[in-house]
Symmetry: C2
Subunit: 507 residues, 2 copies
């Protein structure tokens, strides 16, 4: 290795000799600041209004290029890092706090976070082999293992790590669109556009009424339009009714429309409903339509011996989304998209002179460029690989079981509390309920949730079911106990009482 | 805070009390393993074939759920983490090594990496305020600061942190598409689909001939089709010719086509060409077409007092992409999309019951959901904020200047080496050249590059210009010296000599 004649102009690169030690020292300082700020915050989020939070952040940031800080570069770096870490932690909604239970927003595992740091130091980028030799191989193997878990044959399956369920769903629907809109020879949607490739027929996507809004968003992006989405009736547990799906497909056929994909959901955002995958797969096959399963939430059940049976039929889908930053305890991002066959990714395949020239591929240099909508792409697979080895699927499965048991126990508490009404018994790890304030329930529930936020007491979810406001606990913290959630429910009842009383006073 | 009655079932959450200290200890162990493995690797990448790299990774991973490792959870975690860190680092292409100079693949700053770890521990998600109170405020402020740098009025501008230039370009072109395809009242592309909203006209996107392939890819995704992209002639420095753009727009007008956007490039991937932004902005305005500037690479010039003048006219664009994981020394991902006015993001705005209900927004809870194609979204802004404060724009500007000076010095070396031919003098920080082997130049250059990879000696880029194979050094390492690149060029010449000789022998 040639030695440089000059002193390196920065002592600050993570990968330079001595760089990793600098990173470790900075992380040590930052995590100490972080722990302190979290302890000072006391609750799951700051007891501040959004404006107060923004003011505190502005003050911590100071003006860009304000007074130049004094001292050597690494001291300044450590000072800035600890100051801003304190500000971020003081103003965080902390998913590791037992009373932060609103969203599919998990507390990550320490080992996954540390692995993520390694990914940052090495900064491998998966758009070409020569930016990520080992990471390319690692993603290939881990994707195959996850495909095996789904019930695909890993060695034939395709897949990619994504930024999350939204990107996974979008990618799957792009593949499905181009699969459906190449029926006419020599015309395809990616090359010639939707208008010409559809040849006058109207492309449609079918999904359950409470499927994730990213289905509509994807339809918009893909040029099909949101109103290309046909929503299918669901039951009281928010599961798609197969008979309604069949009727919808027959109707489209009669209208001459072109069904591009059926999107089933394994774990709706609110009730955690899992569509009857086997029956839906049967219908999709009968009509020759691509079946995509959005298992962003429910995919984690695959880790649990006890619960994976709930996903029976998943292996019959053409493509599956799952998010390991939900029931997988990864820091964001750790989305996955899998396809039954690798060849289904064909519409995304590209040969780019500067990334994967043909003769390099012929010489044995693999390229993952054709699996992703992105070009530069972080090695998010590394933290997933480390977690799968450190905990094993059974270790992750135990965490899934704990959260599911917690949801059942919490739902029982709700049932036992006269002022609360349970929406449905938990399918996965959410508990949906509301404070009963009679005709004022919508207002009181919306307000009690904001009161808990404002006072820094709890982060509780809310949603709308059949035009009514409901509250939601999304339980993803395996360290949270039934006592914790009982105390959280007591907080909610107290806040509901206060809001109901306040409402009465102002009337 | 209620105390749990049971012992927490995992001691492994990053955000639990004691979690940050666990993270720091794991990072310490991992970075030691990483430094060791990088030193052992010796060169910028492993001296192995892709198959050998894959075999080594497979061996390090072992089978999923193989023999259960013994010992307490945190010991297993540390063991797995260090084992796999060694494997990843041993098989990495190391952007911090002076002979790894192929791609827009930068060595990240230690302080940015440490900040990224904080983002992972807190795991804030920017799709709703109650998953990221302070991070929401921080992104809002930092985006406004970057907009100011571009020359927008920060308080009116819109913007968002993305996964990179490809996502930024896609988002911008979605906004432009919906802006153009809502001409007919009551019809828009996101709601009603491209086919109906275009009303028979053919939507087109214009860009320079050597613009990034993500423009075509975006057109495909957006349902316009790749062949909706009209490429405009460029000069020998790969800059779009304004006269050619005007002609192309006149032709589209004559054909009754609908121009959706002009995409100018500030820093092409190969020659670093910067389109004449002022002249292009003038033409785009004249024709009433959205101007997007892909400054993924060149945007970093904004930090340099000496070089920012090269981007004159940027402030007249409707939208701008820039990547701080290129000339900004961030670990991936640190993409940025900015728009002149916040309202230009309107096509993405969404009200989602469980994320940003209207009455919450009225109560002062801000939401960034409507700025991003993603839903769950990591606080990548944090490392950017820390870097901007730790180095200041001038500190970053000095790194930009160093890389640019290095490119000029390296190009001079190329010119002085009789067996090498320079393609063009550097516009930014790339040096494009080839080994001159007469009629066999294409074969020899492709092979010499693979030889350097195979032998673990250097990661050199390659590309195709006018159907000829060229080599490329992308210089993003401010610690690399002209002596380093001189020695790298000597390696390239030696490899070229060897391949030219080998070729002669087999003929």
């Amino acid at each position: 290795m040639p030695t440089s004649t000059a002193t390196p102009p920065t002592d600050g690169l993570a990968g330079a000799p001595g760089g990793p030690a600098t990173v470790a020292a900075l992380v040590e300082a930052a995590t100490r600041a972080l722990a302190g700020a979290c302890a000072e915050r006391k609750g799951p989020l700051p007891a501040r209004t959004p404006r107060q939070v923004a003011d505190a952040v502005r003050e911590a940031l100071g003006p860009l290029d304000g007074a130049a800080p004094a001292g050597p570069g690494h001291t300044i770096a450590a000072d800035v890092l600890t100051r801003l870490t304190r500000a971020l932690a003081a103003g965080a909604a902390d998913p590791a706090h037992p009373r932060c239970a609103a969203h599919l927003h998990c507390p990550p595992l320490a080992v996954a976070v540390a692995a993520d740091t390694v990914a940052s130091v090495l900064n491998q980028s998966l758009d070409s082999w020569d930016q990520a030799p080992a990471a390319t191989a690692m993603e290939t193997q881990v994707v195959a293992e996850l495909a095996d878990l789904v019930g695909y044959r890993g060695e034939h399956a395709g897949g990619v790590v994504t930024s999350g369920g939204t990107e996974s769903n979008l990618t799957a629907l792009l593949l499905a669109r181009d699969h459906a809109l190449t029926a006419s020879p020599g015309l395809d949607a990616s090359r010639h556009g939707v208008a010409r490739a559809a040849g006058g027929a109207r492309p449609r996507i079918l999904c359950g009424k409470v499927a994730h809004f990213s289905v509509q968003r994807s339809a918009a992006l893909l040029g099909l339009g949101e109103d290309a989405v046909v929503t299918v009736d669901v039951d009281s547990q928010h599961r798609m009714r197969p008979a309604a799906l069949r009727e919808a497909l027959l109707r489209l056929r009669a209208d001459g429309d072109l069904p591009v994909a059926v999107v089933a959901t394994a774990g709706t955002t609110d009730l955690g409903g899992i569509d009857p995958l086997g029956a839906i797969a049967h219908i999709a096959r009968e009509f020759g339509v691509w079946l995509h399963v959005d298992a962003a939430y429910g995919g984690g059940l695959l880790f649990s011996r006890r619960l994976r049976g709930l996903l029976a039929g998943l292996e019959r889908a053409d493509s599956v989304s799952m998010d390991l930053h939900k029931l997988g305890w990864q820091p964001v991002a750790a989305g996955i998209l899998l396809t039954r066959e690798r060849a289904l990714f064909a519409p995304l395949s590209r040969s780019v002179d500067y990334l994967n020239p043909t003769d390099d591929e012929e010489a044995g240099y693999p390229s993952l460029l054709g699996y992703s909508l992105r070009t530069t792409r972080r090695a998010d697979v590394f933290k997933i690989a480390v977690t799968l080895r450190a905990l094993g699927t059974d270790g992750l499965g135990r965490l899934v079981d704990l959260c599911r048991d917690l949801a059942l126990r919490t739902a029982a508490h709700v049932v036992g509390e006269p002022r609360l009404v349970l929406a449905a018994s938990p399918s996965l790890t959410t508990v949906v309920f509301r404070y009963d304030a009679g005709e004022h329930s919508d207002t009181v529930n919306a307000r009690l949730r904001r009161r808990l936020l404002r006072e820094g007491r709890a982060v509780v979810g809310r949603t709308q079911i059949e035009d009514r406001v409901w509250l939601k606990l999304t339980l993803l913290n395996p360290d949270t106990t039934p006592d914790d959630t009982a105390s959280l429910l007591a907080e909610i009842v107290a806040a509901g009482d206060a809001e109901a009383a306040a409402l009465k006073e102002t009337r």
